[in-house]
Amino acid sequence: MTAIAVLLVLVVLALSADVLSDHLFRTGFGDIDLPGAFAKPSLEEPRLWFGLDALGRSEVVRMLYGGRVSLFVGVFGSLVALTIGLTVGMTAGYFGGWWDDVAVWMITTIESIPLIYFLIMIGLYFKLDAVSLTVFIGAIAWLGAANLARGQTISLRGRDYVTAARTVGASPGRIILRHIFPNVLPLMVVVLMLAVGGTILAESAISFLGFGIVPPQPSWGNMLSGATQYYFKGPHLIFFPSAAITLTVLCVFLIGDGLRDALDPRLRGSESIARR
């Protein structure tokens, strides 16, 4: 419950980044104030709450905009992954045959390319922004969902009610959508939560390395990669983004954990899959 509340607050804060920076903090995420660089956090002015970064930009405002990017990539990246995973997994499980072979082959192949290496290569070959990064992460991270959906579909395919639906002449599309999908869905809600956590971690890691979201657009990951050069001058620049990522992912995983216990105890410990 606490986790849901904290996460909601974070989402609302990130969504209202524009309003807050215009009216409360009165500075944008790119406004530079060189004399004030590395100012320590203080309560004097709202824009100084989290201090200033190496270029004197307001850390709290950058955190808000960074959160927007991280949460956007996390949520929509997982949704893309889930959509692909469900489509591939359910159709492969239902139809079997050559399409199933192809699906399994795609899954084992992509599974064998380490995620960070994959993303570095993509980041090097293509200029990434939040939207394209979301699509790419989604296009890679659908394996877990596909595997589960496929397994689930195979076990459902032989059930009596599916056979019954087929005998009265329901088309495969209708059977998958109306009879199999609703039964796979509860599982997928859990997978979605775990995937959101995994995707936020992946985005922050790749942005931290410098091949994800490119500055000046802030993301929690790339804010940290700038901060590592200033261990001594600006420890607050390391603290706030780290704390934000950890807190967000922790909340997401806790919610996923709770949902899993409520819905399906068989999925124990599958965040290591989401983590990749």
Binding site: P114, L115, M121, I238, L250, S272
Partner: protein, 320 residues
């Protein structure tokens, strides 16, 4: 077992082919032009010359032909020459792999040595204080990004306490692979590498142990008067280990994939650090080869995992 090994190896062929296709296609679909990049520092090379070089490299041929030619070269371990180091890529890779393996294997060892006992302790104290502590620890570790944990290790253990070095493999001037100096430098990165396993293993081990502790043969073992230690160690622990082998796949993925972050944060000259530096220098041949090699390492680890699984549980056969 022999037939199993052969079949498992054959199964890996389509996977490796898929990896080759993906790395090749991504390179070819990229909007950037490798030839222009190769000669980026030599403006005296005219566009016509670039075009003829492109022709000479066969970049105007149909994609399948280019792919076949490239696979042929990869099979003979010819990954081209690095734009940046001006040395064969295969040499650079070969130098880095032992360093990465040392780090990953040490990380695997630490995560097993720490993670499995934690799971057993949690199971034996189910619902009591140690169980809660271990649960919170593993959920927490799972949520902390690797680079944050790495920065924390450096900040506290290296900079504040000065217990560990902040990076690299040896003290300047020292060159050794198995010595105290290396072990000292290994401690920080290994702590980070073991993190994924320490977060995941206790939960699985706890679940397995709990299931086994409620089995009939546990009661039999106790009732024939065996000491509790023997019951736990010989009857429960050993049986719980069998399914644990399956999740090593996940642990290995985290290890290989996470190596980039670990090696970048601790400046460890392994494969991950190489691809990071190469990508920053736009050194395409190295990036492509490093991705291939890391994937291949993962394919091999998955094969080893499956073999280990078949070895501990003879009922396992291949097929769906």
């Amino acid at each position: 077992m022999g037939r199993f090994i052969v079949r498992r190896l054959l199964q890996a062929i389509p996977t490796v082919f898929g990896i080759l296709v993906i790395t090749f296609l991504l390179t070819r679909l990229s909007p950037s032009d490798p030839i222009a990049l190769m000669y980026a520092n030599q403006p005296e090379v005219s566009p016509e010359q670039l075009a003829s070089i492109r022709e000479a490299y066969g970049l105007n041929d149909p994609l399948p032909i280019q792919f076949a030619r490239w696979v042929g070269r990869v099979l003979t371990l010819d990954f081209g020459t690095s734009f940046f180091y001006h040395r064969p890529v295969i040499e650079l890779l070969a130098e880095r792999i032992p360093n990465s393996l040392q780090l990953s294997l040490a990380g695997l060892l630490v995560s097993v040595v720490v993670g499995l006992p934690l799971g057993v302790i949690a199971a034996l104290n189910r619902g009591r204080f140690p169980d809660h502590v271990i649960r919170v620890l593993s959920v927490g570790l799972n949520a902390v990004p690797d680079f944050v944990l790495g920065l924390l290790i450096i900040l506290f253990l290296a900079i504040n306490l000065r217990w560990l070095p902040a990076g690299s493999m040896n003290v300047v001037g020292e060159q050794c692979t198995f010595c105290w100096d290396r072990l000292w430098h290994l401690a920080g990165p290994v702590l980070l590498a073991a993190n994924g396993g320490i977060a995941a293993l206790p939960r699985f081990m706890r679940a397995e142990m709990l299931e086994i502790l409620s089995q009939d043969y546990m009661r039999t073992a106790r009732s024939k008067g065996l000491a509790e230690k023997v019951v736990i160690a010989r009857h429960a622990f050993r049986n719980a280990l069998i399914p644990i082998v399956t999740i090593f796949g996940g642990v290995l993925t985290v290890l290989v994939s996470g190596s980039v972050i670990i090696e970048v944060v601790f400046n460890w000259p392994g494969l991950g650090r190489l691809i990071f530096d190469a990508a920053n220098a736009k050194d395409y041949p190295i990036v492509q080869a490093a991705v291939l090699l890391a994937s291949l390492l993962l394919v091999i680890s998955y094969i080893l995992r499956d073999l280990a699984y078949a070895w501990v549980d003879p009922r396992i056969t291949l097929g769906r």
